[in-house]
Symmetry: C2
Subunit: 221 residues, 2 copies
Amino acid sequence: MKIKVIESVLKDNDAVAQTNRSTMNAAGLLSLNITSAPGSGKTMLLEKTITALGPDAPCAVLVGDLQTSRDAQRLAGCGAATVQINTGRGCHLSAAQISAGLGSVDLSQIAYLFIENVGNMVCPAGFDLGEHKRIAMLSVPEGDDKVAKYPTLFQPADLIILNKIDLAELLEFDVEQVRADLARINTRAPLLLLSVRTGEGMEKWFEWLDACRTDTTGRKD
Amino acid sequence: MKIKVIESVLKDNDAVAQTNRSTMNAAGLLSLNITSAPGSGKTMLLEKTITALGPDAPCAVLVGDLQTSRDAQRLAGCGAATVQINTGRGCHLSAAQISAGLGSVDLSQIAYLFIENVGNMVCPAGFDLGEHKRIAMLSVPEGDDKVAKYPTLFQPADLIILNKIDLAELLEFDVEQVRADLARINTRAPLLLLSVRTGEGMEKWFEWLDACRTDTTGRKD
């Protein structure tokens, strides 16, 4: 009985996700759903990305949080069209919330649409939002055992970012453990080692974004 | 309709939690439900705590993870009676899982029963497991905005631990921001600043544990 309810919720979600995907395809933009634990550095990555891309590649962000509009304020300050989605007690974004968010952005003006999911390594993994690509982010202070412990987050990802790599030595973080665990569950997604704070590795991120946009939309700046 | 199902799940959970609480009261132990994001340092806190308490205050741990028994192996290595609860895709522990776990520990021998919840700042907050006290843990690398963003985790806590305090200066973490946000939602719980890794502040943790056990069980070593 309980399982039936969950299946029905997921089925409804997937139908809306499909509509979102069509909407975003028609607009010719690339959409990315970024998932991670709280505090991995999603918002700071987007701040630096939006600023670096500048007016030639305008960005929009749909940002999910239980409470507050702090992230949206930070991102709007960088020049992105930003929609804050407060989920209250909700532990993930749903396709319906994204659908509502898309309605308040002029998509024809946007090159990249970032979806910053609720900070949570479990629940967002199960919900398709209609994104073109999914990014799973991990940060060094969280520990090198997290890929093995949260495989549902890392399995469906198209890109895996390991952030705060500048702290790896101090915190005795074993990158090879992460590589070994990923080799068991996801050999498709590249692993990017970077530090949003220091800038290390950021050029690879921009290369990936650019190639991904060209592949998905056929557009190139 | 959906709300009714959720209410019913929570009502069922609360009834089992009440039974768990009675079981643990009868055993004369103190039980603590520790909640945090992934990688805040729950397991390392328990490793050091179990080792320091030693055979005079025997510990048991029920540890929740989606996958792997890594945490249970680490904790059993410290001498605690340990039960690993794998939740699969489940984003929190439930009272029924705790009830099953309690059945496989000789509670009469235990002074402290720790419940290490699934690493998740959202979902575990809503589920009473029958614990005597709830601990919410935050770590410095997650950022000083997390109390405001995840109030449902910090509101019901009896103790709030800010771990990895040794990284505060490097990461420009504002402890006063955390204090100010806590002042708005929870003025009941003390805030402990500590570093499990360096040992800073750990004596306050042991004092709190000891006082809490005496208050709850009437026992004192």
